[in-house]
Symmetry: C2
Subunit: 234 residues, 2 copies
DNA sequence: ACACCTTTTCGATAAGTTATAGAAAGTCTC
DNA sequence: GAGACTTTCTATAACTTATCGAAAAGGTGT
């Protein structure tokens, strides 16, 4: 399990005569496509192997367990953490910062290849391998609660328990992510942008003494987000 | 697959010499215990059979598929629907009624033998068998939205899209149910009552023009709920 | 007493899953 | 070329869910 960057490759040739460019990346790419289409549990190693152009058992040369494919894919999980870290340390009104963090989190959950809960299930079954997942979650929770606390201290928000509010906000993010991913029959379906807005709106609305200010906050948050995106690119 | 109520029973005796009282019920009972302990997907038919005192293949005489055990167990899913139906038709302030419905829903999700999402996953894989599940969900959503709409019309709530609010409220219920069932490492854990209150508080707070009235509403909802429980018993 | 039907359980087994072991088929180094 | 290294293969173990037909009881009519 070493190469992966080199080109022509050694080793026994594939029976399928497949290109064998960068097996590890190829496998991950094909696995993602299948996970998106059918979910993790419903995707078999045989299917991934077929898509990637090798035999089922050959996958185990690159990934010792099915989980490990997921783990490789986890690296950029909850990357909204970076935004949260930056915004928590920032000064200024708490409301737009909180809005931006929550909105970005839902957007990220929606665009991830796997349902958050499916991910969490696997992470829970392999805590030693997925410690980073739980660390990230705890960090996001702490940062969220901290921004809420800032808002409460500044009199910008109602007096609430900031930890409870963070729990509810993240729980709502996850619950609505699910509604985006798997719309329930009989209910309207939402776009990623729509659920993100619905979630952030809901969490913010409960904090504001003057609910009418929500539209301004939404606008301000949009500004913060786009600033972040442009600076992050450079 | 007929008897199930009678006592001594015909048929080939069990190898285990087990009591063979009411096999169907016995199986369901043992299955629930295992589902609660390990979840649906992680519980095998062999384990259920061992607990119930017969062989793995004999289970299939009573339940043609593993799903069917779940289905039998589904009958009382989202029974908060009954409360919602009653309260939607009731007159009076919308806020306490909405609070009571949301609170009862989370309590029910928390006390169910299975995680809501695990249930939903199975239901989705067998839509023809689990139609009732989705029907109930759609009904609960409709009733919730209707109560919200009543509150908006009466000027009791802020002007919001009642369907969106219902989606967010139910999504929050499900998300927090998960936090109760599977507390994330690093975060505090909540009791069923605590998550129910957190969820209902959050959903209501975003609707109220005067957030300070939440405590009264919470009290009033408690009254409604206990009234319902006493009349339902008689 | 006995043949026959119904109910329930069992053993054997098929087809699919994740994962392991060791042989095989190339390239690379000396 | 000889040998080492890398990668893939085949074969197979152990475990799933699910099916099939035989087996073991009770009940019924003659």
């Amino acid at each position: 399990m070493t190469r992966d960057a080199s080109r022509p490759a050694a080793g026994r040739p594939r029976l399928s005569g497949a290109p064998t460019g960068s097996p590890r990346q190829d496998i991950i790419r094909e696995a993602i496509a299948l996970f998106v289409a059918k979910g993790y549990a419903e995707t078999t190693m045989s299917e991934i192997a077929r898509s990637a152009g090798l035999r089922q058992s050959s996958l185990y040369y690159w990934f010792a367990r099915k989980d490990n494919i997921l783990q490789a894919l986890l690296e950029e999980n909850r990357s909204s953490l970076a935004l949260a870290t930056a915004l928590e340390a920032q000064s200024g009104a708490a409301a737009p910062r909180l809005y931006a963090v929550l909105h970005a989190d839902v957007m990220q959950l929606c665009s991830a290849p796997l349902d958050f809960y499916e991910f969490e299930r696997v992470a829970r079954s392999q805590p030693q391998n997925f410690g980073a997942f739980f660390d990230d979650y705890a960090a996001l929770h702490r940062l969220t609660a901290s921004i809420v606390h800032q808002g409460v201290s500044a009199g910008e928000f109602l007096a609430v328990d900031s930890s409870d509010v963070a729990t509810a906000a993240l729980g709502l993010n996850e619950g609505l992510q699910r509604h985006y991913r798997q719309p329930l029959p009989g209910l309207r379906s939402y776009s990623a942008e729509q659920v993100s807005e619905l979630s952030a709106d809901t969490s913010l609305a409960r904090l504001l003494a003057i609910p009418e200010s929500l539209p301004e906050i939404r606008m301000a948050a949009r500004g913060i987000t786009s600033d972040w995106n442009t600076t992050a690119e450079s």
